[in-house]
């Protein structure tokens, strides 16, 4: 790690000001990804603004009838929070599908959004990577790309966003609350992360110096019919090859409303509202789900080692929607299946 200075911020304004007053500063919440990247020399901040004394670790009702998750509440405290378990079990399930208990005890909600790709070449400072070093090239295109994206890719980058939590947040239409040098604002979850285009070094739409202070969940939590299906190379403690957050509002066997988001396939949680609209009014049957899966993967392409993901994603969508309809989930979800 490079040398750096460290300060504890005690108020949001102080944190924003402190970061702005240093040239290469970074915020640090749980630190589980940032410190790892600093050890690899991928991130080289000269000053860290410590956030864990800020009063942003609470989870409480918001004025819109939903729930506000503090940016510094840990992933574990969020997943096991009684209101999250009861009203947003899809989110609990997604969080608990990610990382390990130790990491979830440290990682914060804001930090989960800010974590960077686990692309092997992004981590390997001896190889070209447009995300790490703009203009140097992409080693994953034409390289080994088993974990890489199949949707929304560009000639510059085929990295994926690694989060599970964010896939559920996308499906639930969370809103990101931020504070910055020019005041406070909110960002719809779909607009928070971005596609790589020709600037893959920019992961999200935060403006310089902005700090995530919380996440607002809308009142509707789809707590009756949901599934977070995560497919990976091990049954635990591995990043998703493909994951699906599926949430349904059913009237009998008819779909009144559907939400569908994919992880492990793109530079951001992948949602397609056309697919969700097409599901409205349809019977919740395998045939309907297969059509949705085909539509969702339109335009998908593999890059060699990840070609399998296109078919895997289609089948995962069908299975997740079926699980959400029947609320019977697979053996690997047995631990997380205590919800109705």
């Amino acid at each position: 790690m490079n040398p750096f200075t460290y300060s504890h911020a005690t108020a949001v304004d102080d944190a924003v000001r402190d970061k702005a007053s240093h040239h290469d500063a970074a915020y640090i919440g749980g630190g589980t990804n940032l410190l790892d990247l600093m050890k690899e020399n991928v991130e080289r901040p000269t000053h860290l603004v410590g956030l864990n004394r800020l009063p942003l670790a609470t989870i409480k009702n918001n004025p819109e009838g939903g729930l506000r998750l503090g940016a510094l509440a840990t992933n574990a405290d969020t997943a096991w929070h009684p209101e999250v378990e009861k009203r947003y079990p899809l989110l609990s399930q997604a969080i608990l599908a990610g990382a390990s208990p130790q990491l979830r005890n440290m990682a914060t909600n804001g930090g989960n959004l800010m974590q960077r790709t686990r692309c092997y070449y992004f981590y390997d400072t001896t190889t070209p990577c447009n995300k790490r070093e703009p203009g140097s090239g992409c080693s994953a295109i034409g390289g080994y790309n088993r974990i890489h994206a199949i949707l929304g890719t560009s000639q510059s980058c085929i990295a994926t966003h690694p989060s599970d939590m964010c896939i559920a947040l996308a499906a639930l239409e969370a809103v990101v609350r931020v504070s910055g040098p020019n005041g406070d604002r909110t960002i719809d979850f779909t607009d928070f992360h971005r596609l790589p285009g020709n600037a893959p070094h920019i992961d999200n739409t935060l403006r310089p110096g902005e700090l995530i202070t919380g996440l607002d969940l809308p009142a509707k939590g789809f707590e009756k019919n949901y599934s977070y299906l995560k497919l990976r190379d091990r049954t635990s403690y591995a990043f998703a090859l493909v994951s699906v957050a599926a949430a349904l509002d059913l009237e009998g066997n008819t779909i009144k409303e559907a939400r569908l988001a994919l992880g492990g396939v793109a530079h951001k949680p992948w949602r397609d509202t056309d697919v969700e609209d097409a599901l409205k009014g349809q019977p919740a049957t395998a045939d309907t789900f297969r059509k949705a899966a085909t539509q969702m993967l339109q335009g998908a392409r593999g890059f060699g080692s990840n070609d399998f993901k296109v078919e895997l994603a289609k089948r995962a969508i069908v299975r997740a929607l079926k699980q959400a309809t029947e609320m019977k989930q697979g053996p690997s979800d047995v631990f997380l299946n205590s919800n109705p």
Partner: protein, 195 residues
């Protein structure tokens, strides 16, 4: 070092920079700072004892414990949060001590393997690990035991599948998982398990 984990090479403590000078560090394109940040006093409460240490800001909690507080029970495995050998408890919750800075843990109650039992009276999990042959080389064991204490504090694991899932952050390269599972299960259940 004893272990080599898939996809992670063991790191020696070579990146530990003596506090007086950053000899092994390289600056990026931004150029070198005029002087390295000085070490400052960090007060950590470790196993109930207030401990004042002179630490550079980039000292991880793991290095603070091992190299500055002389508590070498906590092990450095991958140093990247993947293996769980460095697991300690902070305010009763298990974390990877390699992925947090010592300075971030001021004011918290840190418990390491040294704080769990005594030679005369082992912690029930320590005894259970012995009874169930839950280790071979023993390198992952302090992390396994601290993790299991955290698991029991959480109260979420009841079945074997749940214990396996919630112990998945601790790797054992010797493959003593059957014994580890039985040891943890015995303490979770409060009844004897046959190994």
């Amino acid at each position: 070092m004893l272990l080599q984990l898939d996809g992670m090479s063991f790191q020696s403590t070579s990146f530990l920079v003596p506090m007086s000078y950053p000899s092994t560090t390289k600056r990026g394109v931004m150029g070198a700072p005029a002087a390295p940040p000085p070490a400052s006093t960090v007060t950590l409460k470790i196993n109930g004892v207030e401990t004042r240490l002179q630490l550079a800001p980039w000292t991880s909690l793991l290095d603070a414990l091992r190299e500055y507080a002389d508590l070498t029970g906590t092990k450095k495995g991958c140093d990247h949060g993947q293996c769980g050998a460095c697991t300690v408890l902070v305010n009763g919750k298990r974390i990877n001590s390699c992925l947090t800075l010592a300075v971030m843990q001021e004011g918290n109650e840190i418990t390491t393997i040294e704080g769990l039992g005594t030679q005369e009276k082992l912690h029930p999990l320590q005894q259970a690990f012995i009874d169930h042959d839950a280790f071979q080389c023993g390198y992952c064991t302090p992390g396994q035991i601290c993790s299991a204490v955290g698991l029991i504090n959480e109260g979420k694991a009841h079945s074997e599948d749940e214990i396996r899932e919630l112990m998945s952050g601790n790797l054992c390269r010797c493959g003593a998982y059957v014994g580890i599972l039985n040891a943890v299960k015995e303490v979770v259940d409060g009844t004897k398990v046959k190994s």
